[in-house]
Amino acid sequence: MNTLNAKIDPRDGKLVMAHFYVAFIALAVGGLAGLLQTLVRSGKFVLPAGIGYYQILTVHGVVLGLVLTTFFIMGFQIAATSRTSGTLSNLQRKLGWIGFWLMTAGTLMAATMILLNKASVLYTFYAPLQAHFIYYLGLTLVVVGSWVDGAAVLGKYISWRKQNPGQPSPLITFMAVVNTMLWIVATIGVAATVLFQLLPWSLGIVDRVDVLVSRTLFWYFGHPLVYFWLLPAYMAWYVVIPKVIGAKIFSDSLARLSFILFLLFSIPVGFHHQLMEPGIDPAWKFLQVILTFLVVIPSLMTAFSLFATFESYGRSKGATGLFGWFKKLPWGDARFTVPFIGMLSFIPAGAGGLVNASHQLNQVIHNTIWVTGHFHLTLATAVVLTFFGISYWLVPHVTGRVLTKAMNKLAIYQGVLWAIGMTFMSGAMHAAGLLGAPRRSSFSEYGGAAQATEWIPYQIAQAVGGTILFVAIILMLYIFVNLAFFAPKGEEEFPIGEVSDKAEKSPMVFENWKLWLGITALLILFAYTIPFIDMIQNAPIGSKGYKLW
């Protein structure tokens, strides 16, 4: 580990912070949009100045689902690679900056079109609703920029392997590489629909678009997208959290195995978002449901590994009894407690995900607000609270400041407030969804229908939760600004855990990318080739574009 940097090179740190500035601006804008949505849907508030509900819904989805996540993840992965595999070369850093500016330019283009109300098509942009071509072009730049950004991480990994032949790469670098590959393979789908279908169509070069093909390409991307969000949180849980609490990583090879399983099984599963659609053979839908279930396994492995780490740490501190170790955990440390709240939320979130994937159970909740409740536990709690937990040490680490006791306390309040707000909001969303309340719909009494009247108290609970969450966002932004500009100068550790002495050495087969990418490609071809050919052979005449907002 001769290339391990205890402190990230300031030039790499600057690149990381650039990503984080955009991510936290996105948090402010997207959070405000989210607050407004819950208020509108309570039925007690009307948006001023002719702003549309679906316009702010598009802002919320794009800015939080795509911008906040992608910028934060790219920044974090660059930091993790630079910390454990050594400072980026000038070329690698230049790639990072080119990627950053491409993504930023793309974000601004898409944002401008949304603000001009030329793109109220939500972040999933389902055809034949047709946005302005600049919206699609902007999103393309975000994706292309992320590829260039990812090339910096891949480049560093390749040069590390050359300098350390026969050695397994540092664990967190390995994980960043898996997530970058997952992202590149996944985004090929969305790039294909945007470049070959939506852009030519919105420019008027072609008249019609095949709706089913476009949705299928989107969801080929859309499910691995959620694992692209989740894996950086798992990186922190596997590698950073053990060091924060003063424990060792339970098993290096188990961690690598679970990441490889995510690469293999998170992509050929997109049909579970399309279970209710015509034109796809039910046998192929079922096959992808089976593959979806398999992707649960690495998450269950992760849960085991984490709690094994916590328990062995507690016992090493003299804990006795079945759950005595629980009290020994460092609850006063925000770097641990805030991500831990995220981990806990992943238990109901994962269970809900199994419901969603379960073929005919999906029929009960598809496109109801249950689904919104689900991904506000996964993405907007488990993942986001872990990202906040990372920021508490990574921002001061690269700005040469420290997380003070006062800020640490505020950070814990922030996490707890988030948990309370999300319990209200996501809980009410799950409940209303089971009663049939739709997602992605503005306030409506549906002509006074009795069933819709039942949903309104839950919608008010969502607004209460949304308001609490917005307060938590303001706290987070305050902490971020403090850590970036005002906290006292000092050294904040970038915690990287060491593997337990008892763990076996990781076999080199994990670094065999020809093998893993090969199996990934085979699984994708297996799950998609025949139904995709079916779709094209039996395609109806395409659809013209509609602008209906």
Binding site: V211, M276, P278
Partner: protein, 153 residues
Amino acid sequence: MHLDEKIWLTLSFGMIMIFMLITGYQTFALEMGPPSHQETIDPEKVDQTAPFNEPGIKKIGENEYEVVMTLQIFSFTPNTIEVPAGSKVHFILTSKDVVHGFEVANTNINAMVMPGHIQKITQTFDQPGEYLVLCNEYCGAGHQMMSMTISVK
């Protein structure tokens, strides 16, 4: 590998296998799979294409009905139907413009209705009452107004 780890992984795989078997049994043996009809249609000629040239409800058997329905911004045609309790209703659906959703609240009816595709779904209505039908896929500024009712007497 640690013994506890083996136990945990065995339980995990076991649980997942059970889920697979149950969903598989329901889908293939009990025919409870999600709506996946395969026919297509020209979305701009829906009004001229049978059976959508005559949307409405038709009795096709003892306690059995067929409902031919078009979805378009921001309405369902027909926009109200009535059936006796215990009726089995076959819905035949298509969209004249963008993607819509067909959801009957408090039932298992939930289907995407896409332009160019014909979708079919069947439900037996045992409980009398007014059922709210709504579009659950964003279709434009009036999306939240798109609804109809099914009265089960």
